[in-house]
């Protein structure tokens, strides 16, 4: 279903993830094959427990698959040892989690520069300024996370994910803890960074409105891709979710 001329940034082949053993085992992913194209915002949806977070973790190199393959660019994550995997996360992948995104002892600005600091690289000043401007945090830079609102914290996290210009950014329910206005601000920013800066983002969400910002929506159920939708709107997504029975 992908158009072949599109550049693929990350993909999975027949991805399986089993938690636990024997009768207590859970098949969280049951043969997921998926390709994420460059400069696209992809939303991943599905009922609770359908394997969305698991998929994201496996694709981002936070967790290892039971079988199947994950590629970021041309790199097969399964072939990487712990050190290389860490380096890949640092250099090629960005993250926004639902909560606990920031290091409490660092200021907003320091949190944004964290991945580059870890790598010992100097941030690209102009790009960083642009990102900060875009998330609207100019006057919050010297604050610590405890002094920021939940929405501001998530925007700092998004800025951090993008500032090192990763090949792909993963976001797991980034707006889950936000009110609709803060959520809209964050989604607007993510949308722009895909449209204007050519970033690639995969985002898990339960919110049809959030999915409406995406280029493409993938529907998961019981660890399998059951459907996908291009150029979604909130209404169509809502309809589809109802039909999936979630």
């Amino acid at each position: 279903m992908n158009t072949t001329e599109e550049k693929i940034v990350a993909r999975t082949e027949d991805l399986v993830k089993v938690y636990g053993e024997g009768s207590a085992s859970v098949r969280a992913l049951d043969g997921v094959s998926l390709a994420l194209g460059a400069a696209e915002l992809t939303a991943i949806m599905g009922p609770s427990g359908s394997g969305k977070s698991t998929l994201l973790h496996c694709m981002a190199g936070l967790d290892r698959a039971t079988s199947g393959r994950v590629y970021v660019g041309d790199v097969d994550l399964g072939s990487l040892d712990e050190k290389r995997l860490t380096r890949l996360r640092r250099d090629k992948v960005g993250f926004v989690f639902q909560a606990y995104n920031l290091v409490p002892t660092l200021t907003a600005a320091e949190n944004i520069a964290l991945p580059m600091d870890i790598a010992g690289r100097n941030p690209d000043r102009a790009w960083m300024d642009g990102v900060i401007e875009a998330v609207g945090l100019r006057d919050r830079l010297r604050h610590r996370p405890a002094e920021l609102s939940g929405g501001e914290q998530q925007r700092v996290a998004a800025a951090r994910a993008l500032v090192s210009r990763p090949e792909i950014t993963f976001a797991d329910e980034p707006t889950g803890n936000l009110d609709s206005r803060s959520g809209a601000e964050l989604l607007g920013f993510m949308r722009r960074s895909v449209g204007e800066y050519g970033q690639t983002i995969a985002m898990v969400t339960h919110d049809p409105t959030a999915a409406g910002y995406a280029d493409r929506v993938i529907f998961l159920s019981d660890g399998r891709i059951v459907d996908e939708m291009r150029a979604p709107t909130a209404e169509r997504v809502l309809d589809r979710m109802k039909s999936l029975g979630s």
Binding site: L62, K83, R89, F97, A99, V103, I118
Partner: protein, 845 residues
């Protein structure tokens, strides 16, 4: 509530285990000290009992008291008394014996000098019931030229039956053939002393007792009680000679040993106290952190209806259980320590008769009580804080400690610090006693520890600056983490502070002592060379000085002897130095004023200016001095002199010494080269002359200084080693705090790992935090040490510590060691931090 307490304990097993270890070590030190000293006590008591087992009555000259010298303090008694005693009704057998200084020379020509115990020569007692020595190999000495050695010396220096051996005496050195090896009852030697036995005639000759005896040992006819026999014998003795039952002699000796051991015990217990004090900081800190981490759980209990006091009690109960378990383990550890130390003593050649380890009920009670009390005391504040957790906090995110109000903290801490310093001052300068000094020291530590959270943040900022600059992100984060919770950082570093403060104090005291001694030697020593005895309480034959006198290369030879005296009625011994009035001023600048040394008469004494000041003694006063052998003698104060380091506070003439003491050994001979002689030439002469006296060491001024400094360094090393345990316990504290912090911050570490921080970087971050905390402890500790050291040196000004010296390099080394300790402490927590489960950390639970 009990269920909650037990669950709480089980849930924090590892953390509490580390805390408990601090108590285990401290209590172990206490137990070990008691067990070791009790065991030694018992061993020596048995030894003395065995030694006198077959002797019913001893006859000897009367002595006021026994000094620490190896040389017998009693005057000899005439040999003809033996016949008198044998004639008493009820005496089955009586034998005379002599004992004195005799030092073995090993195969390489070096004098055998045990550290502390004496080197003895004795006569062989032929009657088997009277004898305490038993032949292990060969036979008893029977004629001139024959000797028997104790088994330890024989083994250690490779002497066997048939070998020949050189022995040093007060008189000329002689050679003997070893005809036998002897043991002392079950033991191979007598408490570390070296022993050479000769037949009585030979012993009398070589030990300087021709026609005289030191004691007569008597065994009674069957059915005659020892006391009866004693009284019968006493009736025929001349004045100044006494008869004493064997039992009385045994307990006399045991008692003097007990006194020495009790000093040793007290010293060790002080260090054990320091270790427990440091342990208390760690218990306080751990319980504090646990209470904070469990605030939610405690709040829930409160919300469910638990009262404040119930919550407080549950924490107290927890600490009581930890204290009891840890003290129990500590007792076990202490017994092991005592075993190890006994092994160590054996390795040093002190062979104890095989008695079982003495674990007295008293030891167990004290150890348990101390361990539990310290744990409880340290957990009182955290427990009260636990009680104050409000039910509403169950709903809040509880990371931050609720800080004590700044004002209360500064006030209480300030009072502690200032009050402690005042007590210290009162103890040191106003003579309020050592107990007050100890309390002052503890109060200063507590006061500074209470104030420390106020300065922990800025200190961490400054100390962490190089890390932040040089180590990049991990350094910056490490510093931030150290600054994050000043109270915790402060409590953790305070534990290390105590150890380092004491180490710093002793380093400063030691350095000042060295400089002061050096200055004193420089000021007062006019001699070019000093001949000293290798070990402390022995001397060497005056024959050496005799041979040096009159040599053309040498301008002056002056002998110095030392002895002990006490004020009548007092038990503390003081030193008295004997000098040669005719020559001493050519080798020592005593600065006698008023009065003069040259005219010092045998019934006169010179007193140092500082002792005169302290004791309000004036020239012309009569000083009653009690001596071991000669009893109380009134001496007239003929003048005052400047203390010079080599001569103590009281000086008499050699003639007076001869009248008052039985020993004839020189403890030092000072030599001044003749003018115009090359130093090498004079040194060569001396080196040749002392060839016949292997126990004598030749030093020039610089060597003399080095020797004194070496002694101070040895003592410093010992003290530092004993404080080492406190430092180890403080390290445990850092490990514990870090482990708890890592547990708290596992999400944060997970996040850092998720965004690409390597394990190595995570470890570095924890390590930097640890080093910063340790360095804070180091800086605070050395700061306090500086103050204590200064106070101590100032207080000891009139005890001869005239200069204040700062051993900067050594202090810096210890600060660096503190930092290194931080690195060590971080190893395990850092590993745990690097291993956090990333997914668990970043997903919402």
């Amino acid at each position: 509530m009990w269920k909650a307490t037990i669950r709480g304990l089980l849930a924090h097993k590892l953390r509490l285990a580390l805390t408990a270890l601090a108590v285990v070590l401290g209590v172990g030190f206490v137990t070990g000290t008691y067990v070791l000293t009790d065991t030694m006590n018992r061993a020596f008591t048995d030894l003395f009992r065995d030694a006198v087992a077959g002797v019913d009555v001893y006859v000897r000259s009367h002595a006021a008291f026994a000094g620490p010298s190896a040389e017998t303090e009693r005057r000899p008694i005439p040999e003809r008394l033996l016949e008198t005693v044998r004639g008493v009704e009820g005496v089955r057998v009586a034998e005379g014996s002599v004992a004195g200084y005799a030092q073995l020379v090993d195969r390489r020509g070096k004098a055998v000098a045990p550290m502390g115990p004496p080197t003895l020569g004795v006569s062989w007692t032929t009657d088997r019931t009277l004898a305490s020595l038993t032949i292990r190999a060969g036979r008893a000495p029977e004629r001139p030229g024959e000797a028997v050695l104790d088994a330890v010396s024989a083994r250690a220096h490779g002497f066997g039956v048939g070998d020949s051996v050189t022995v040093l005496f007060q008189g000329p050195t002689e050679r003997f053939r070893v005809v036998g090896i002897a043991g002392f009852g079950e033991a191979d030697n007598m408490g570390g002393a070296t022993l050479v036995a000769f037949d009585l005639r030979t012993a009398q000759r070589v030990l300087g007792r021709p026609g005289a005896l030191d004691t007569i040992e008597v065994a009674a006819d069957p059915g005659v009680p020892a006391a009866t026999l004693r009284d019968r014998i006493a009736a025929v003795l001349p004045p100044g000679v006494e008869a004493v039952t064997g039992r009385a002699v045994g307990s006399e000796e045991a008692k003097s040993l007990q006194e020495a051991l009790s000093f040793f015990r007290t010293a060790l217990l002080v260090f054990a106290g320091v270790a427990l004090f440091v342990g208390a900081f760690i218990i306080f800190n751990t319980f504090g952190i646990l209470v904070t981490q469990r605030a939610r759980e405690l709040a829930l209990l409160r919300a469910l209806g638990a009262s404040r006091s119930q919550v407080t009690r549950s924490v107290v109960a927890e600490s009581a259980i930890v204290g009891a378990v840890a003290s129990g383990a500590g007792i076990g550890a202490g017994v092991l320590m005592a075993l190890a130390l006994r092994g160590l003593l054996a390795a040093f050649g002190i062979d104890l008769p095989s008695v079982g380890l003495q674990i007295l009920p008293r030891t167990i009670v004290i150890s348990l009580v101390v361990g539990i009390a310290v744990t409880l005391a340290a957990s009182v504040l955290p427990a009260r804080r636990a009680g104050r957790v409000s039910p509403i906090e169950a709903l809040r995110d509880a990371e931050a400690d609720r800080p004590t109000s700044l004002r209360t903290r500064s006030f209480v801490g300030g009072i502690g610090t200032v009050g402690g310093a005042a007590a210290l001052g009162a103890g040191l300068f106003a003579g309020a006693g050592i107990g007050v000094v100890g309390a002052g020291v503890a109060a200063v530590f507590l006061g500074v520890a209470i104030l420390a959270p106020l300065v922990a943040r800025p200190l961490a900022r400054v100390i962490g600056a190089p890390f932040a600059r040089l180590r990049g992100l991990t350094g910056r984060l490490g510093r931030e983490n150290a600054m994050r919770n000043p109270r915790r950082t402060a409590a953790t570093s305070s534990a290390l502070m105590v150890g380092l403060a004491l180490v710093g104090t002793f380093l400063i005291l030691g350095a000042s002592l060295k400089v002061s001694l050096g200055k004193a030697i420089e000021r007062s020593l006019r001699a070019d060379y000093v001949l000293t005895a290798g070990s402390h309480f022995t001397g060497f034959s005056p024959a050496l000085a005799e041979r040096l006198r009159g040599r053309p290369e040498i301008a002056a030879v002056s002998e110095i002897r030392i002895g002990f005296w006490r004020k009548p009625g007092s038990t503390s011994l003081r030193m008295v130095t004997a000098v040669d009035p005719a020559t001493v001023e050519r080798v020592l600048a005593l600065g006698v004023r008023p009065g003069n040394v040259a005219g010092l008469r045998p019934d006169e004494v010179l007193v140092s200016r500082r002792a005169a000041e302290r004791g309000r003694i004036r020239v012309g006063d009569r000083l009653d001095m009690e001596f071991p052998a000669s009893g109380t003698a009134p001496l007239t104060v003929a003048g005052l002199f400047d203390e010079g380091g080599l001569v103590g506070d009281y000086a008499v003439s050699l003639a007076a010494y001869g009248r008052l003491f039985t020993s004839r050994l020189d403890s030092m001979v000072l030599v001044r080269a003749a003018p115009g002689r090359a130093p090498g030439e004079v040194r060569g002469v001396l080196a040749r002359e002392i060839g016949a006296f292997p126990s004598v060491r030749l030093e020039d001024q610089a060597g003399m200084r080095r020797q004194q400094e070496g002694m101070i360094d040895q003592l410093l090393g010992l003290v530092t080693a004993l404080l080492g345990l406190a430092v180890v316990i403080a390290l445990l504290g850092i490990v514990n705090t870090l482990a708890l912090a890592v547990f708290e911050r596992r999400r944060e570490f997970g996040l850092l790992r998720a965004v690409g921080m390597s394990r190595r970087q995570v470890r570095a971050m924890v390590r930097h935090e640890s080093v910063i905390i340790a360095l804070i402890g180091g800086v605070l500790g050395l700061g306090i040490g500086l103050f204590f050291g200064w106070a101590l040196v100032a207080a000891l000004g009139d005890a001869g510590v005239t200069e204040l010296a700062l051993p900067t390099a050594q202090l810096a080394v210890f600060l660096a060691l503190a930092g290194l300790a931080g690195v060590l402490a971080a190893v395990l927590p850092a590993r745990r931090a690097a291993r956090v489960d990333i997914l668990r950390a970043v997903t919402v639970d």
